[in-house]
Structures are given as structure tokens and as C-alpha cells.
Symmetry: C2
Subunit: 248 residues, 2 copies
């Protein structure tokens, strides 16, 4: 936990009283003392700092902070993800890693090669996945929670939802092992947001690739290696970020 | 398992008899039939294909293959890693992900902020970590096992071992949050091998950074986000690969 995240509602007269795992972390791991300041952030709001004005160092752990925040919050990360629903254990890791790396929106939809049982995962409920997103933000010192949009049916998603969302992107990219080119063949120096689509284990089927192509997605391959989806998401985020930063 | 890996010793007269999890995978997951061919590779040797000439579809599962191999094996990946010993659960994931992404050598050494208890992890024994490396290779369709070199003491490693190994690299890089520049400020268009050093949770201490600098390592930062070591390794591998491919 490299930043303490709080909800706006927890602030009263520039004070916050923590009495859960955050308080325990401050006491047991950071071993705060009176007068210490710690990094703090409002979820989907600005970052700031908190000064310890009171604490209880044993169970039930409590820490009271005087808090102060910056005027602005960080910009939305320029990369969004579109995933064919991965295996829940993998999706959990993707949620926290994507939040840590910085992702604006995570679209999740179906694909032919997604196992049907994955759709009954409890992880698809916001109260289940949100803690994993927050964990990633706490790790990476960020406050902006990635938006998660879940569409269980592929066709309505690609025909009705996606067309309304793609105008905001300068790049629509789809990772696909059979594509002839690599990332550098499909990415140009245009600034703007990137939407990256990553398929299920076993890949997208031709029909799906064709539908994405109709929407304007450019396919690229990472080479001969076949990666697990969670590894691919992080490696691709790194590649896209590096490309993007090399233009600026 | 996207490739069946075998040891040279298992080949007798161009035949291989599988009778373990590999046989079970071929039968239960790939549902092979007589005459089917499957991807196969010799560990630290070439890839090839195996034709199913006999099998037993129930316990104990057995598959017999007629095998044929290419003359050459793939080149050594151009990126090596140098890690401060991570938490075992993280190291396990790094082993398989690094093998999947492609890494030549993984050096592991100590650092001030490495928890002492990590050094007693059973995972540091070759018979414990090798399966994780093989798992990564099976995923990525590769045969070359990353070399793992473990040095429990930092000073002898950096003074006596590293100097003899660094001549082979065109880039010595160290990820460090406090460094002023990003990757693009320290990487140039020289071809050749890259050695990437990644610190422990909490980062390298100044003394360690200074010692690496004396060896010729250039420090760079990934920006403000603090990543877990396993996420950082994959994201950095992606960034380095993208940079490297953009030169070629």
C-alpha cells in the first residue's frame, strides 16, 4: 500500500478517521508516529497528504489524519483494454495489474473460445472486482479507478456498443498471433487514446477478427511466442507505453 | 502446453514414449488420434514434430511418437535479467513469465531491502525452479531454458562475478524510480544484448545504485507509478523488446 485511498464521504472537516486494514497498515507496516505525514488520495479524486494527529496502536487499530489535497487529479491513462473474458483467476490478476499500470477503461466481452462457465464467476460483480482495482491503485500511487464495462454477448457489443465508443480513439489495435505485422507496423505517431483488444486463450476466431476489422481495428502479432493473457496484457501495455512515449 | 518438451535421453531410434502429464495432456486436452502430429521440442535443443503412432487413452496414459527435429535451435533471447531476490511467490511467477517472454540468463543476488528469510526458500533449488521455467517454455513454444545464476552475497557478486559477465552486453540498464530519465534516454540504437537490473520491493539503496553505476549501468525510471516486481519485469521486457524491434 503506497498510498492510502479514501472515499470523499470519509472526510469530515479536513479530518479522516481510519479504523480498518488501512489503519493497521499505517501502524504495523509504516509504524507511523504523531506528526508523520503519509500519502493519501481520494478515490477518483486528487492525491494529497495526511498528517497523523491521533492513533491507537493496538486492536482495534485507529489512525486519525489531518488531510489536504491537490486541486487537480491525474489525467486519465491513454490506454484502454478490450478483453475476451479471461479465466477468473487470471482476470483478478489483470484487474490489479491493469490498475497499477494505468488503464482508463476495461471492456470485457464474449468470444467463441471463452469457456461459458467463466460468465458465472462472482468476480464479475463490482463489489468483487473493485477491491482488486483499488489494490492496483494503492500499489501504483494512483486514485483513478479504471471503468469496467461488461457485455456478455459479443454481437450486441460489437454492433451497438463499440461503434459509439470508438470515435475517441486514435488507435484501435487487436493482438492476434496470425497477423502479418508487428506493433510497429500498425501504430503511427498520432497522439490520442489507444484501445487494445486481447483475445481469449486460443485466440479470436476468424469471424471475430473480421468484425473487429470492420470496426477499424488493426491486427498485429507479438511474434511466435504464445503468451498467457495476463502476461500478454502487461507486456503489451509496456510496448504501447514505450511506443507512445517515444513519440513525445 | 503449446509444445511437448522432452529430454534428448528420451529419444530412442526416433521414437519417444510419453507416460506422464505430457501423455495425459495429449490425450485429455488435445485428444490426439493415431497419425496426428504435435509440436515437440528437445529441452535446450531444436523444435520438431511428433507423429502419434500408439497411445493408451486411459490411466496410465501413454503416447508413443515418431519424432523429427529441425537442424538448428532458436537463438538465445537478447535480454537478460538481474534481480534482487524477490518474494518466493513472486519469483515463481517471474520464472515462468520470463521463460515465456524469452530471457537468456536470470541473475539473482542480494540487496539491502531483500528480506533475509527469502534466502531459505526451497524455490532456489534447481529441481524446484526448473519446472516453472519449463512451464513458461511450454506456454511460449520455446525450448531454451533460461540460465539461472544465484549469488547470495551482493559484494562478491558485483565485484567478482559481474565484471566478467558484462563485456557481452551492449546495454547495462537498471530500473530505479529516482532516476531522472526514462528508458528512451538510456537506450541507443546499438544492437547486442541487454542486461536489465530490477530491484527489490522498496528499491535499491544508494550504495547499490552507486556500485551498479561503477559497473557501467545506466539508471532509468518508469515514471511515477510504483509497480510490483513481477509486473515491472514483464512491462519492462515489453518496453525493451519494443525499443529493440523498432531499431531493426
Amino acid at each position: 500500500m503506497n498510498i492510502i485511498l479514501i472515499e470523499t464521504l470519509e472526510i469530515q472537516d479536513d479530518r479522516v478517521l481510519l479504523a480498518d486494514r488501512r489503519a493497521k497498515h499505517l501502524i504495523k507496516v509504516l509504524q507511523v508516529q504523531l506528526g508523520d505525514t503519509v500519502r493519501i488520495g481520494i478515490i477518483d479524486g486528487p492525491k494529497g497528504c495526511g498528517k497523523v494527529v491521533a492513533f491507537c496502536a493496538r486492536f482495534p487499530f485507529q489512525v486519525e489524519l489531518d488531510v489536504e489535497f491537490a486541486a487537480d487529479m491525474a489525467e486519465k491513462p491513454p490506454i484502454d483494454l478490450l478483453l475476451a473474458l479471461p479465466r477468473p483467476i487470471m482476470l483478478r490478476r489483470i484487474f490489479s495489474q491493469a490498475a497499477a499500470l494505468g488503464v482508463g477503461t476495461i471492456f470485457i466481452t464474449n468470444a467463441q473460445r471463452v469457456e461459458k462457465s467463466f460468465w458465472s464467476a462472482t468476480l464479475l460483480n463490482e463489489e468483487e472486482y473493485r477491491p482488486h482495482l483499488l489494490q492496483g491503485l494503492e500499489q501504483a500511487v494512483d486514485t483513478r479507478v479504471p471503468e469496467v464495462s461488461i457485455y456478455e454477448r459479443f454481437k450486441p457489443f460489437i454492433e451497438d456498443v463499440l461503434p459509439g465508443r470508438i470515435a475517441q480513439y486514435s488507435h484501435l489495435l487487436i493482438a492476434h498471433p496470425d497477423a502479418p505485422g508487428t506493433l510497429k507496423t500498425v501504430i503511427t505517431e498520432r497522439p490520442g487514446r489507444i484501445l487494445l483488444a486481447v483475445g481469449p486463450e486460443g485466440g479470436w476466431i476468424d469471424y471475430e477478427i473480421a468484425r473487429f476489422a470492420e470496426c477499424g481495428f488493426a491486427a498485429f502479432s507479438l511474434g511466435e511466442r504464445i503468451l498467457k493473457v495476463d502476461t500478454a496484457v502487461v507486456a503489451l501495455h509496456g510496448r504501447l507505453s514505450e511506443r507512445r512515449e517515444s513519440f513525445s
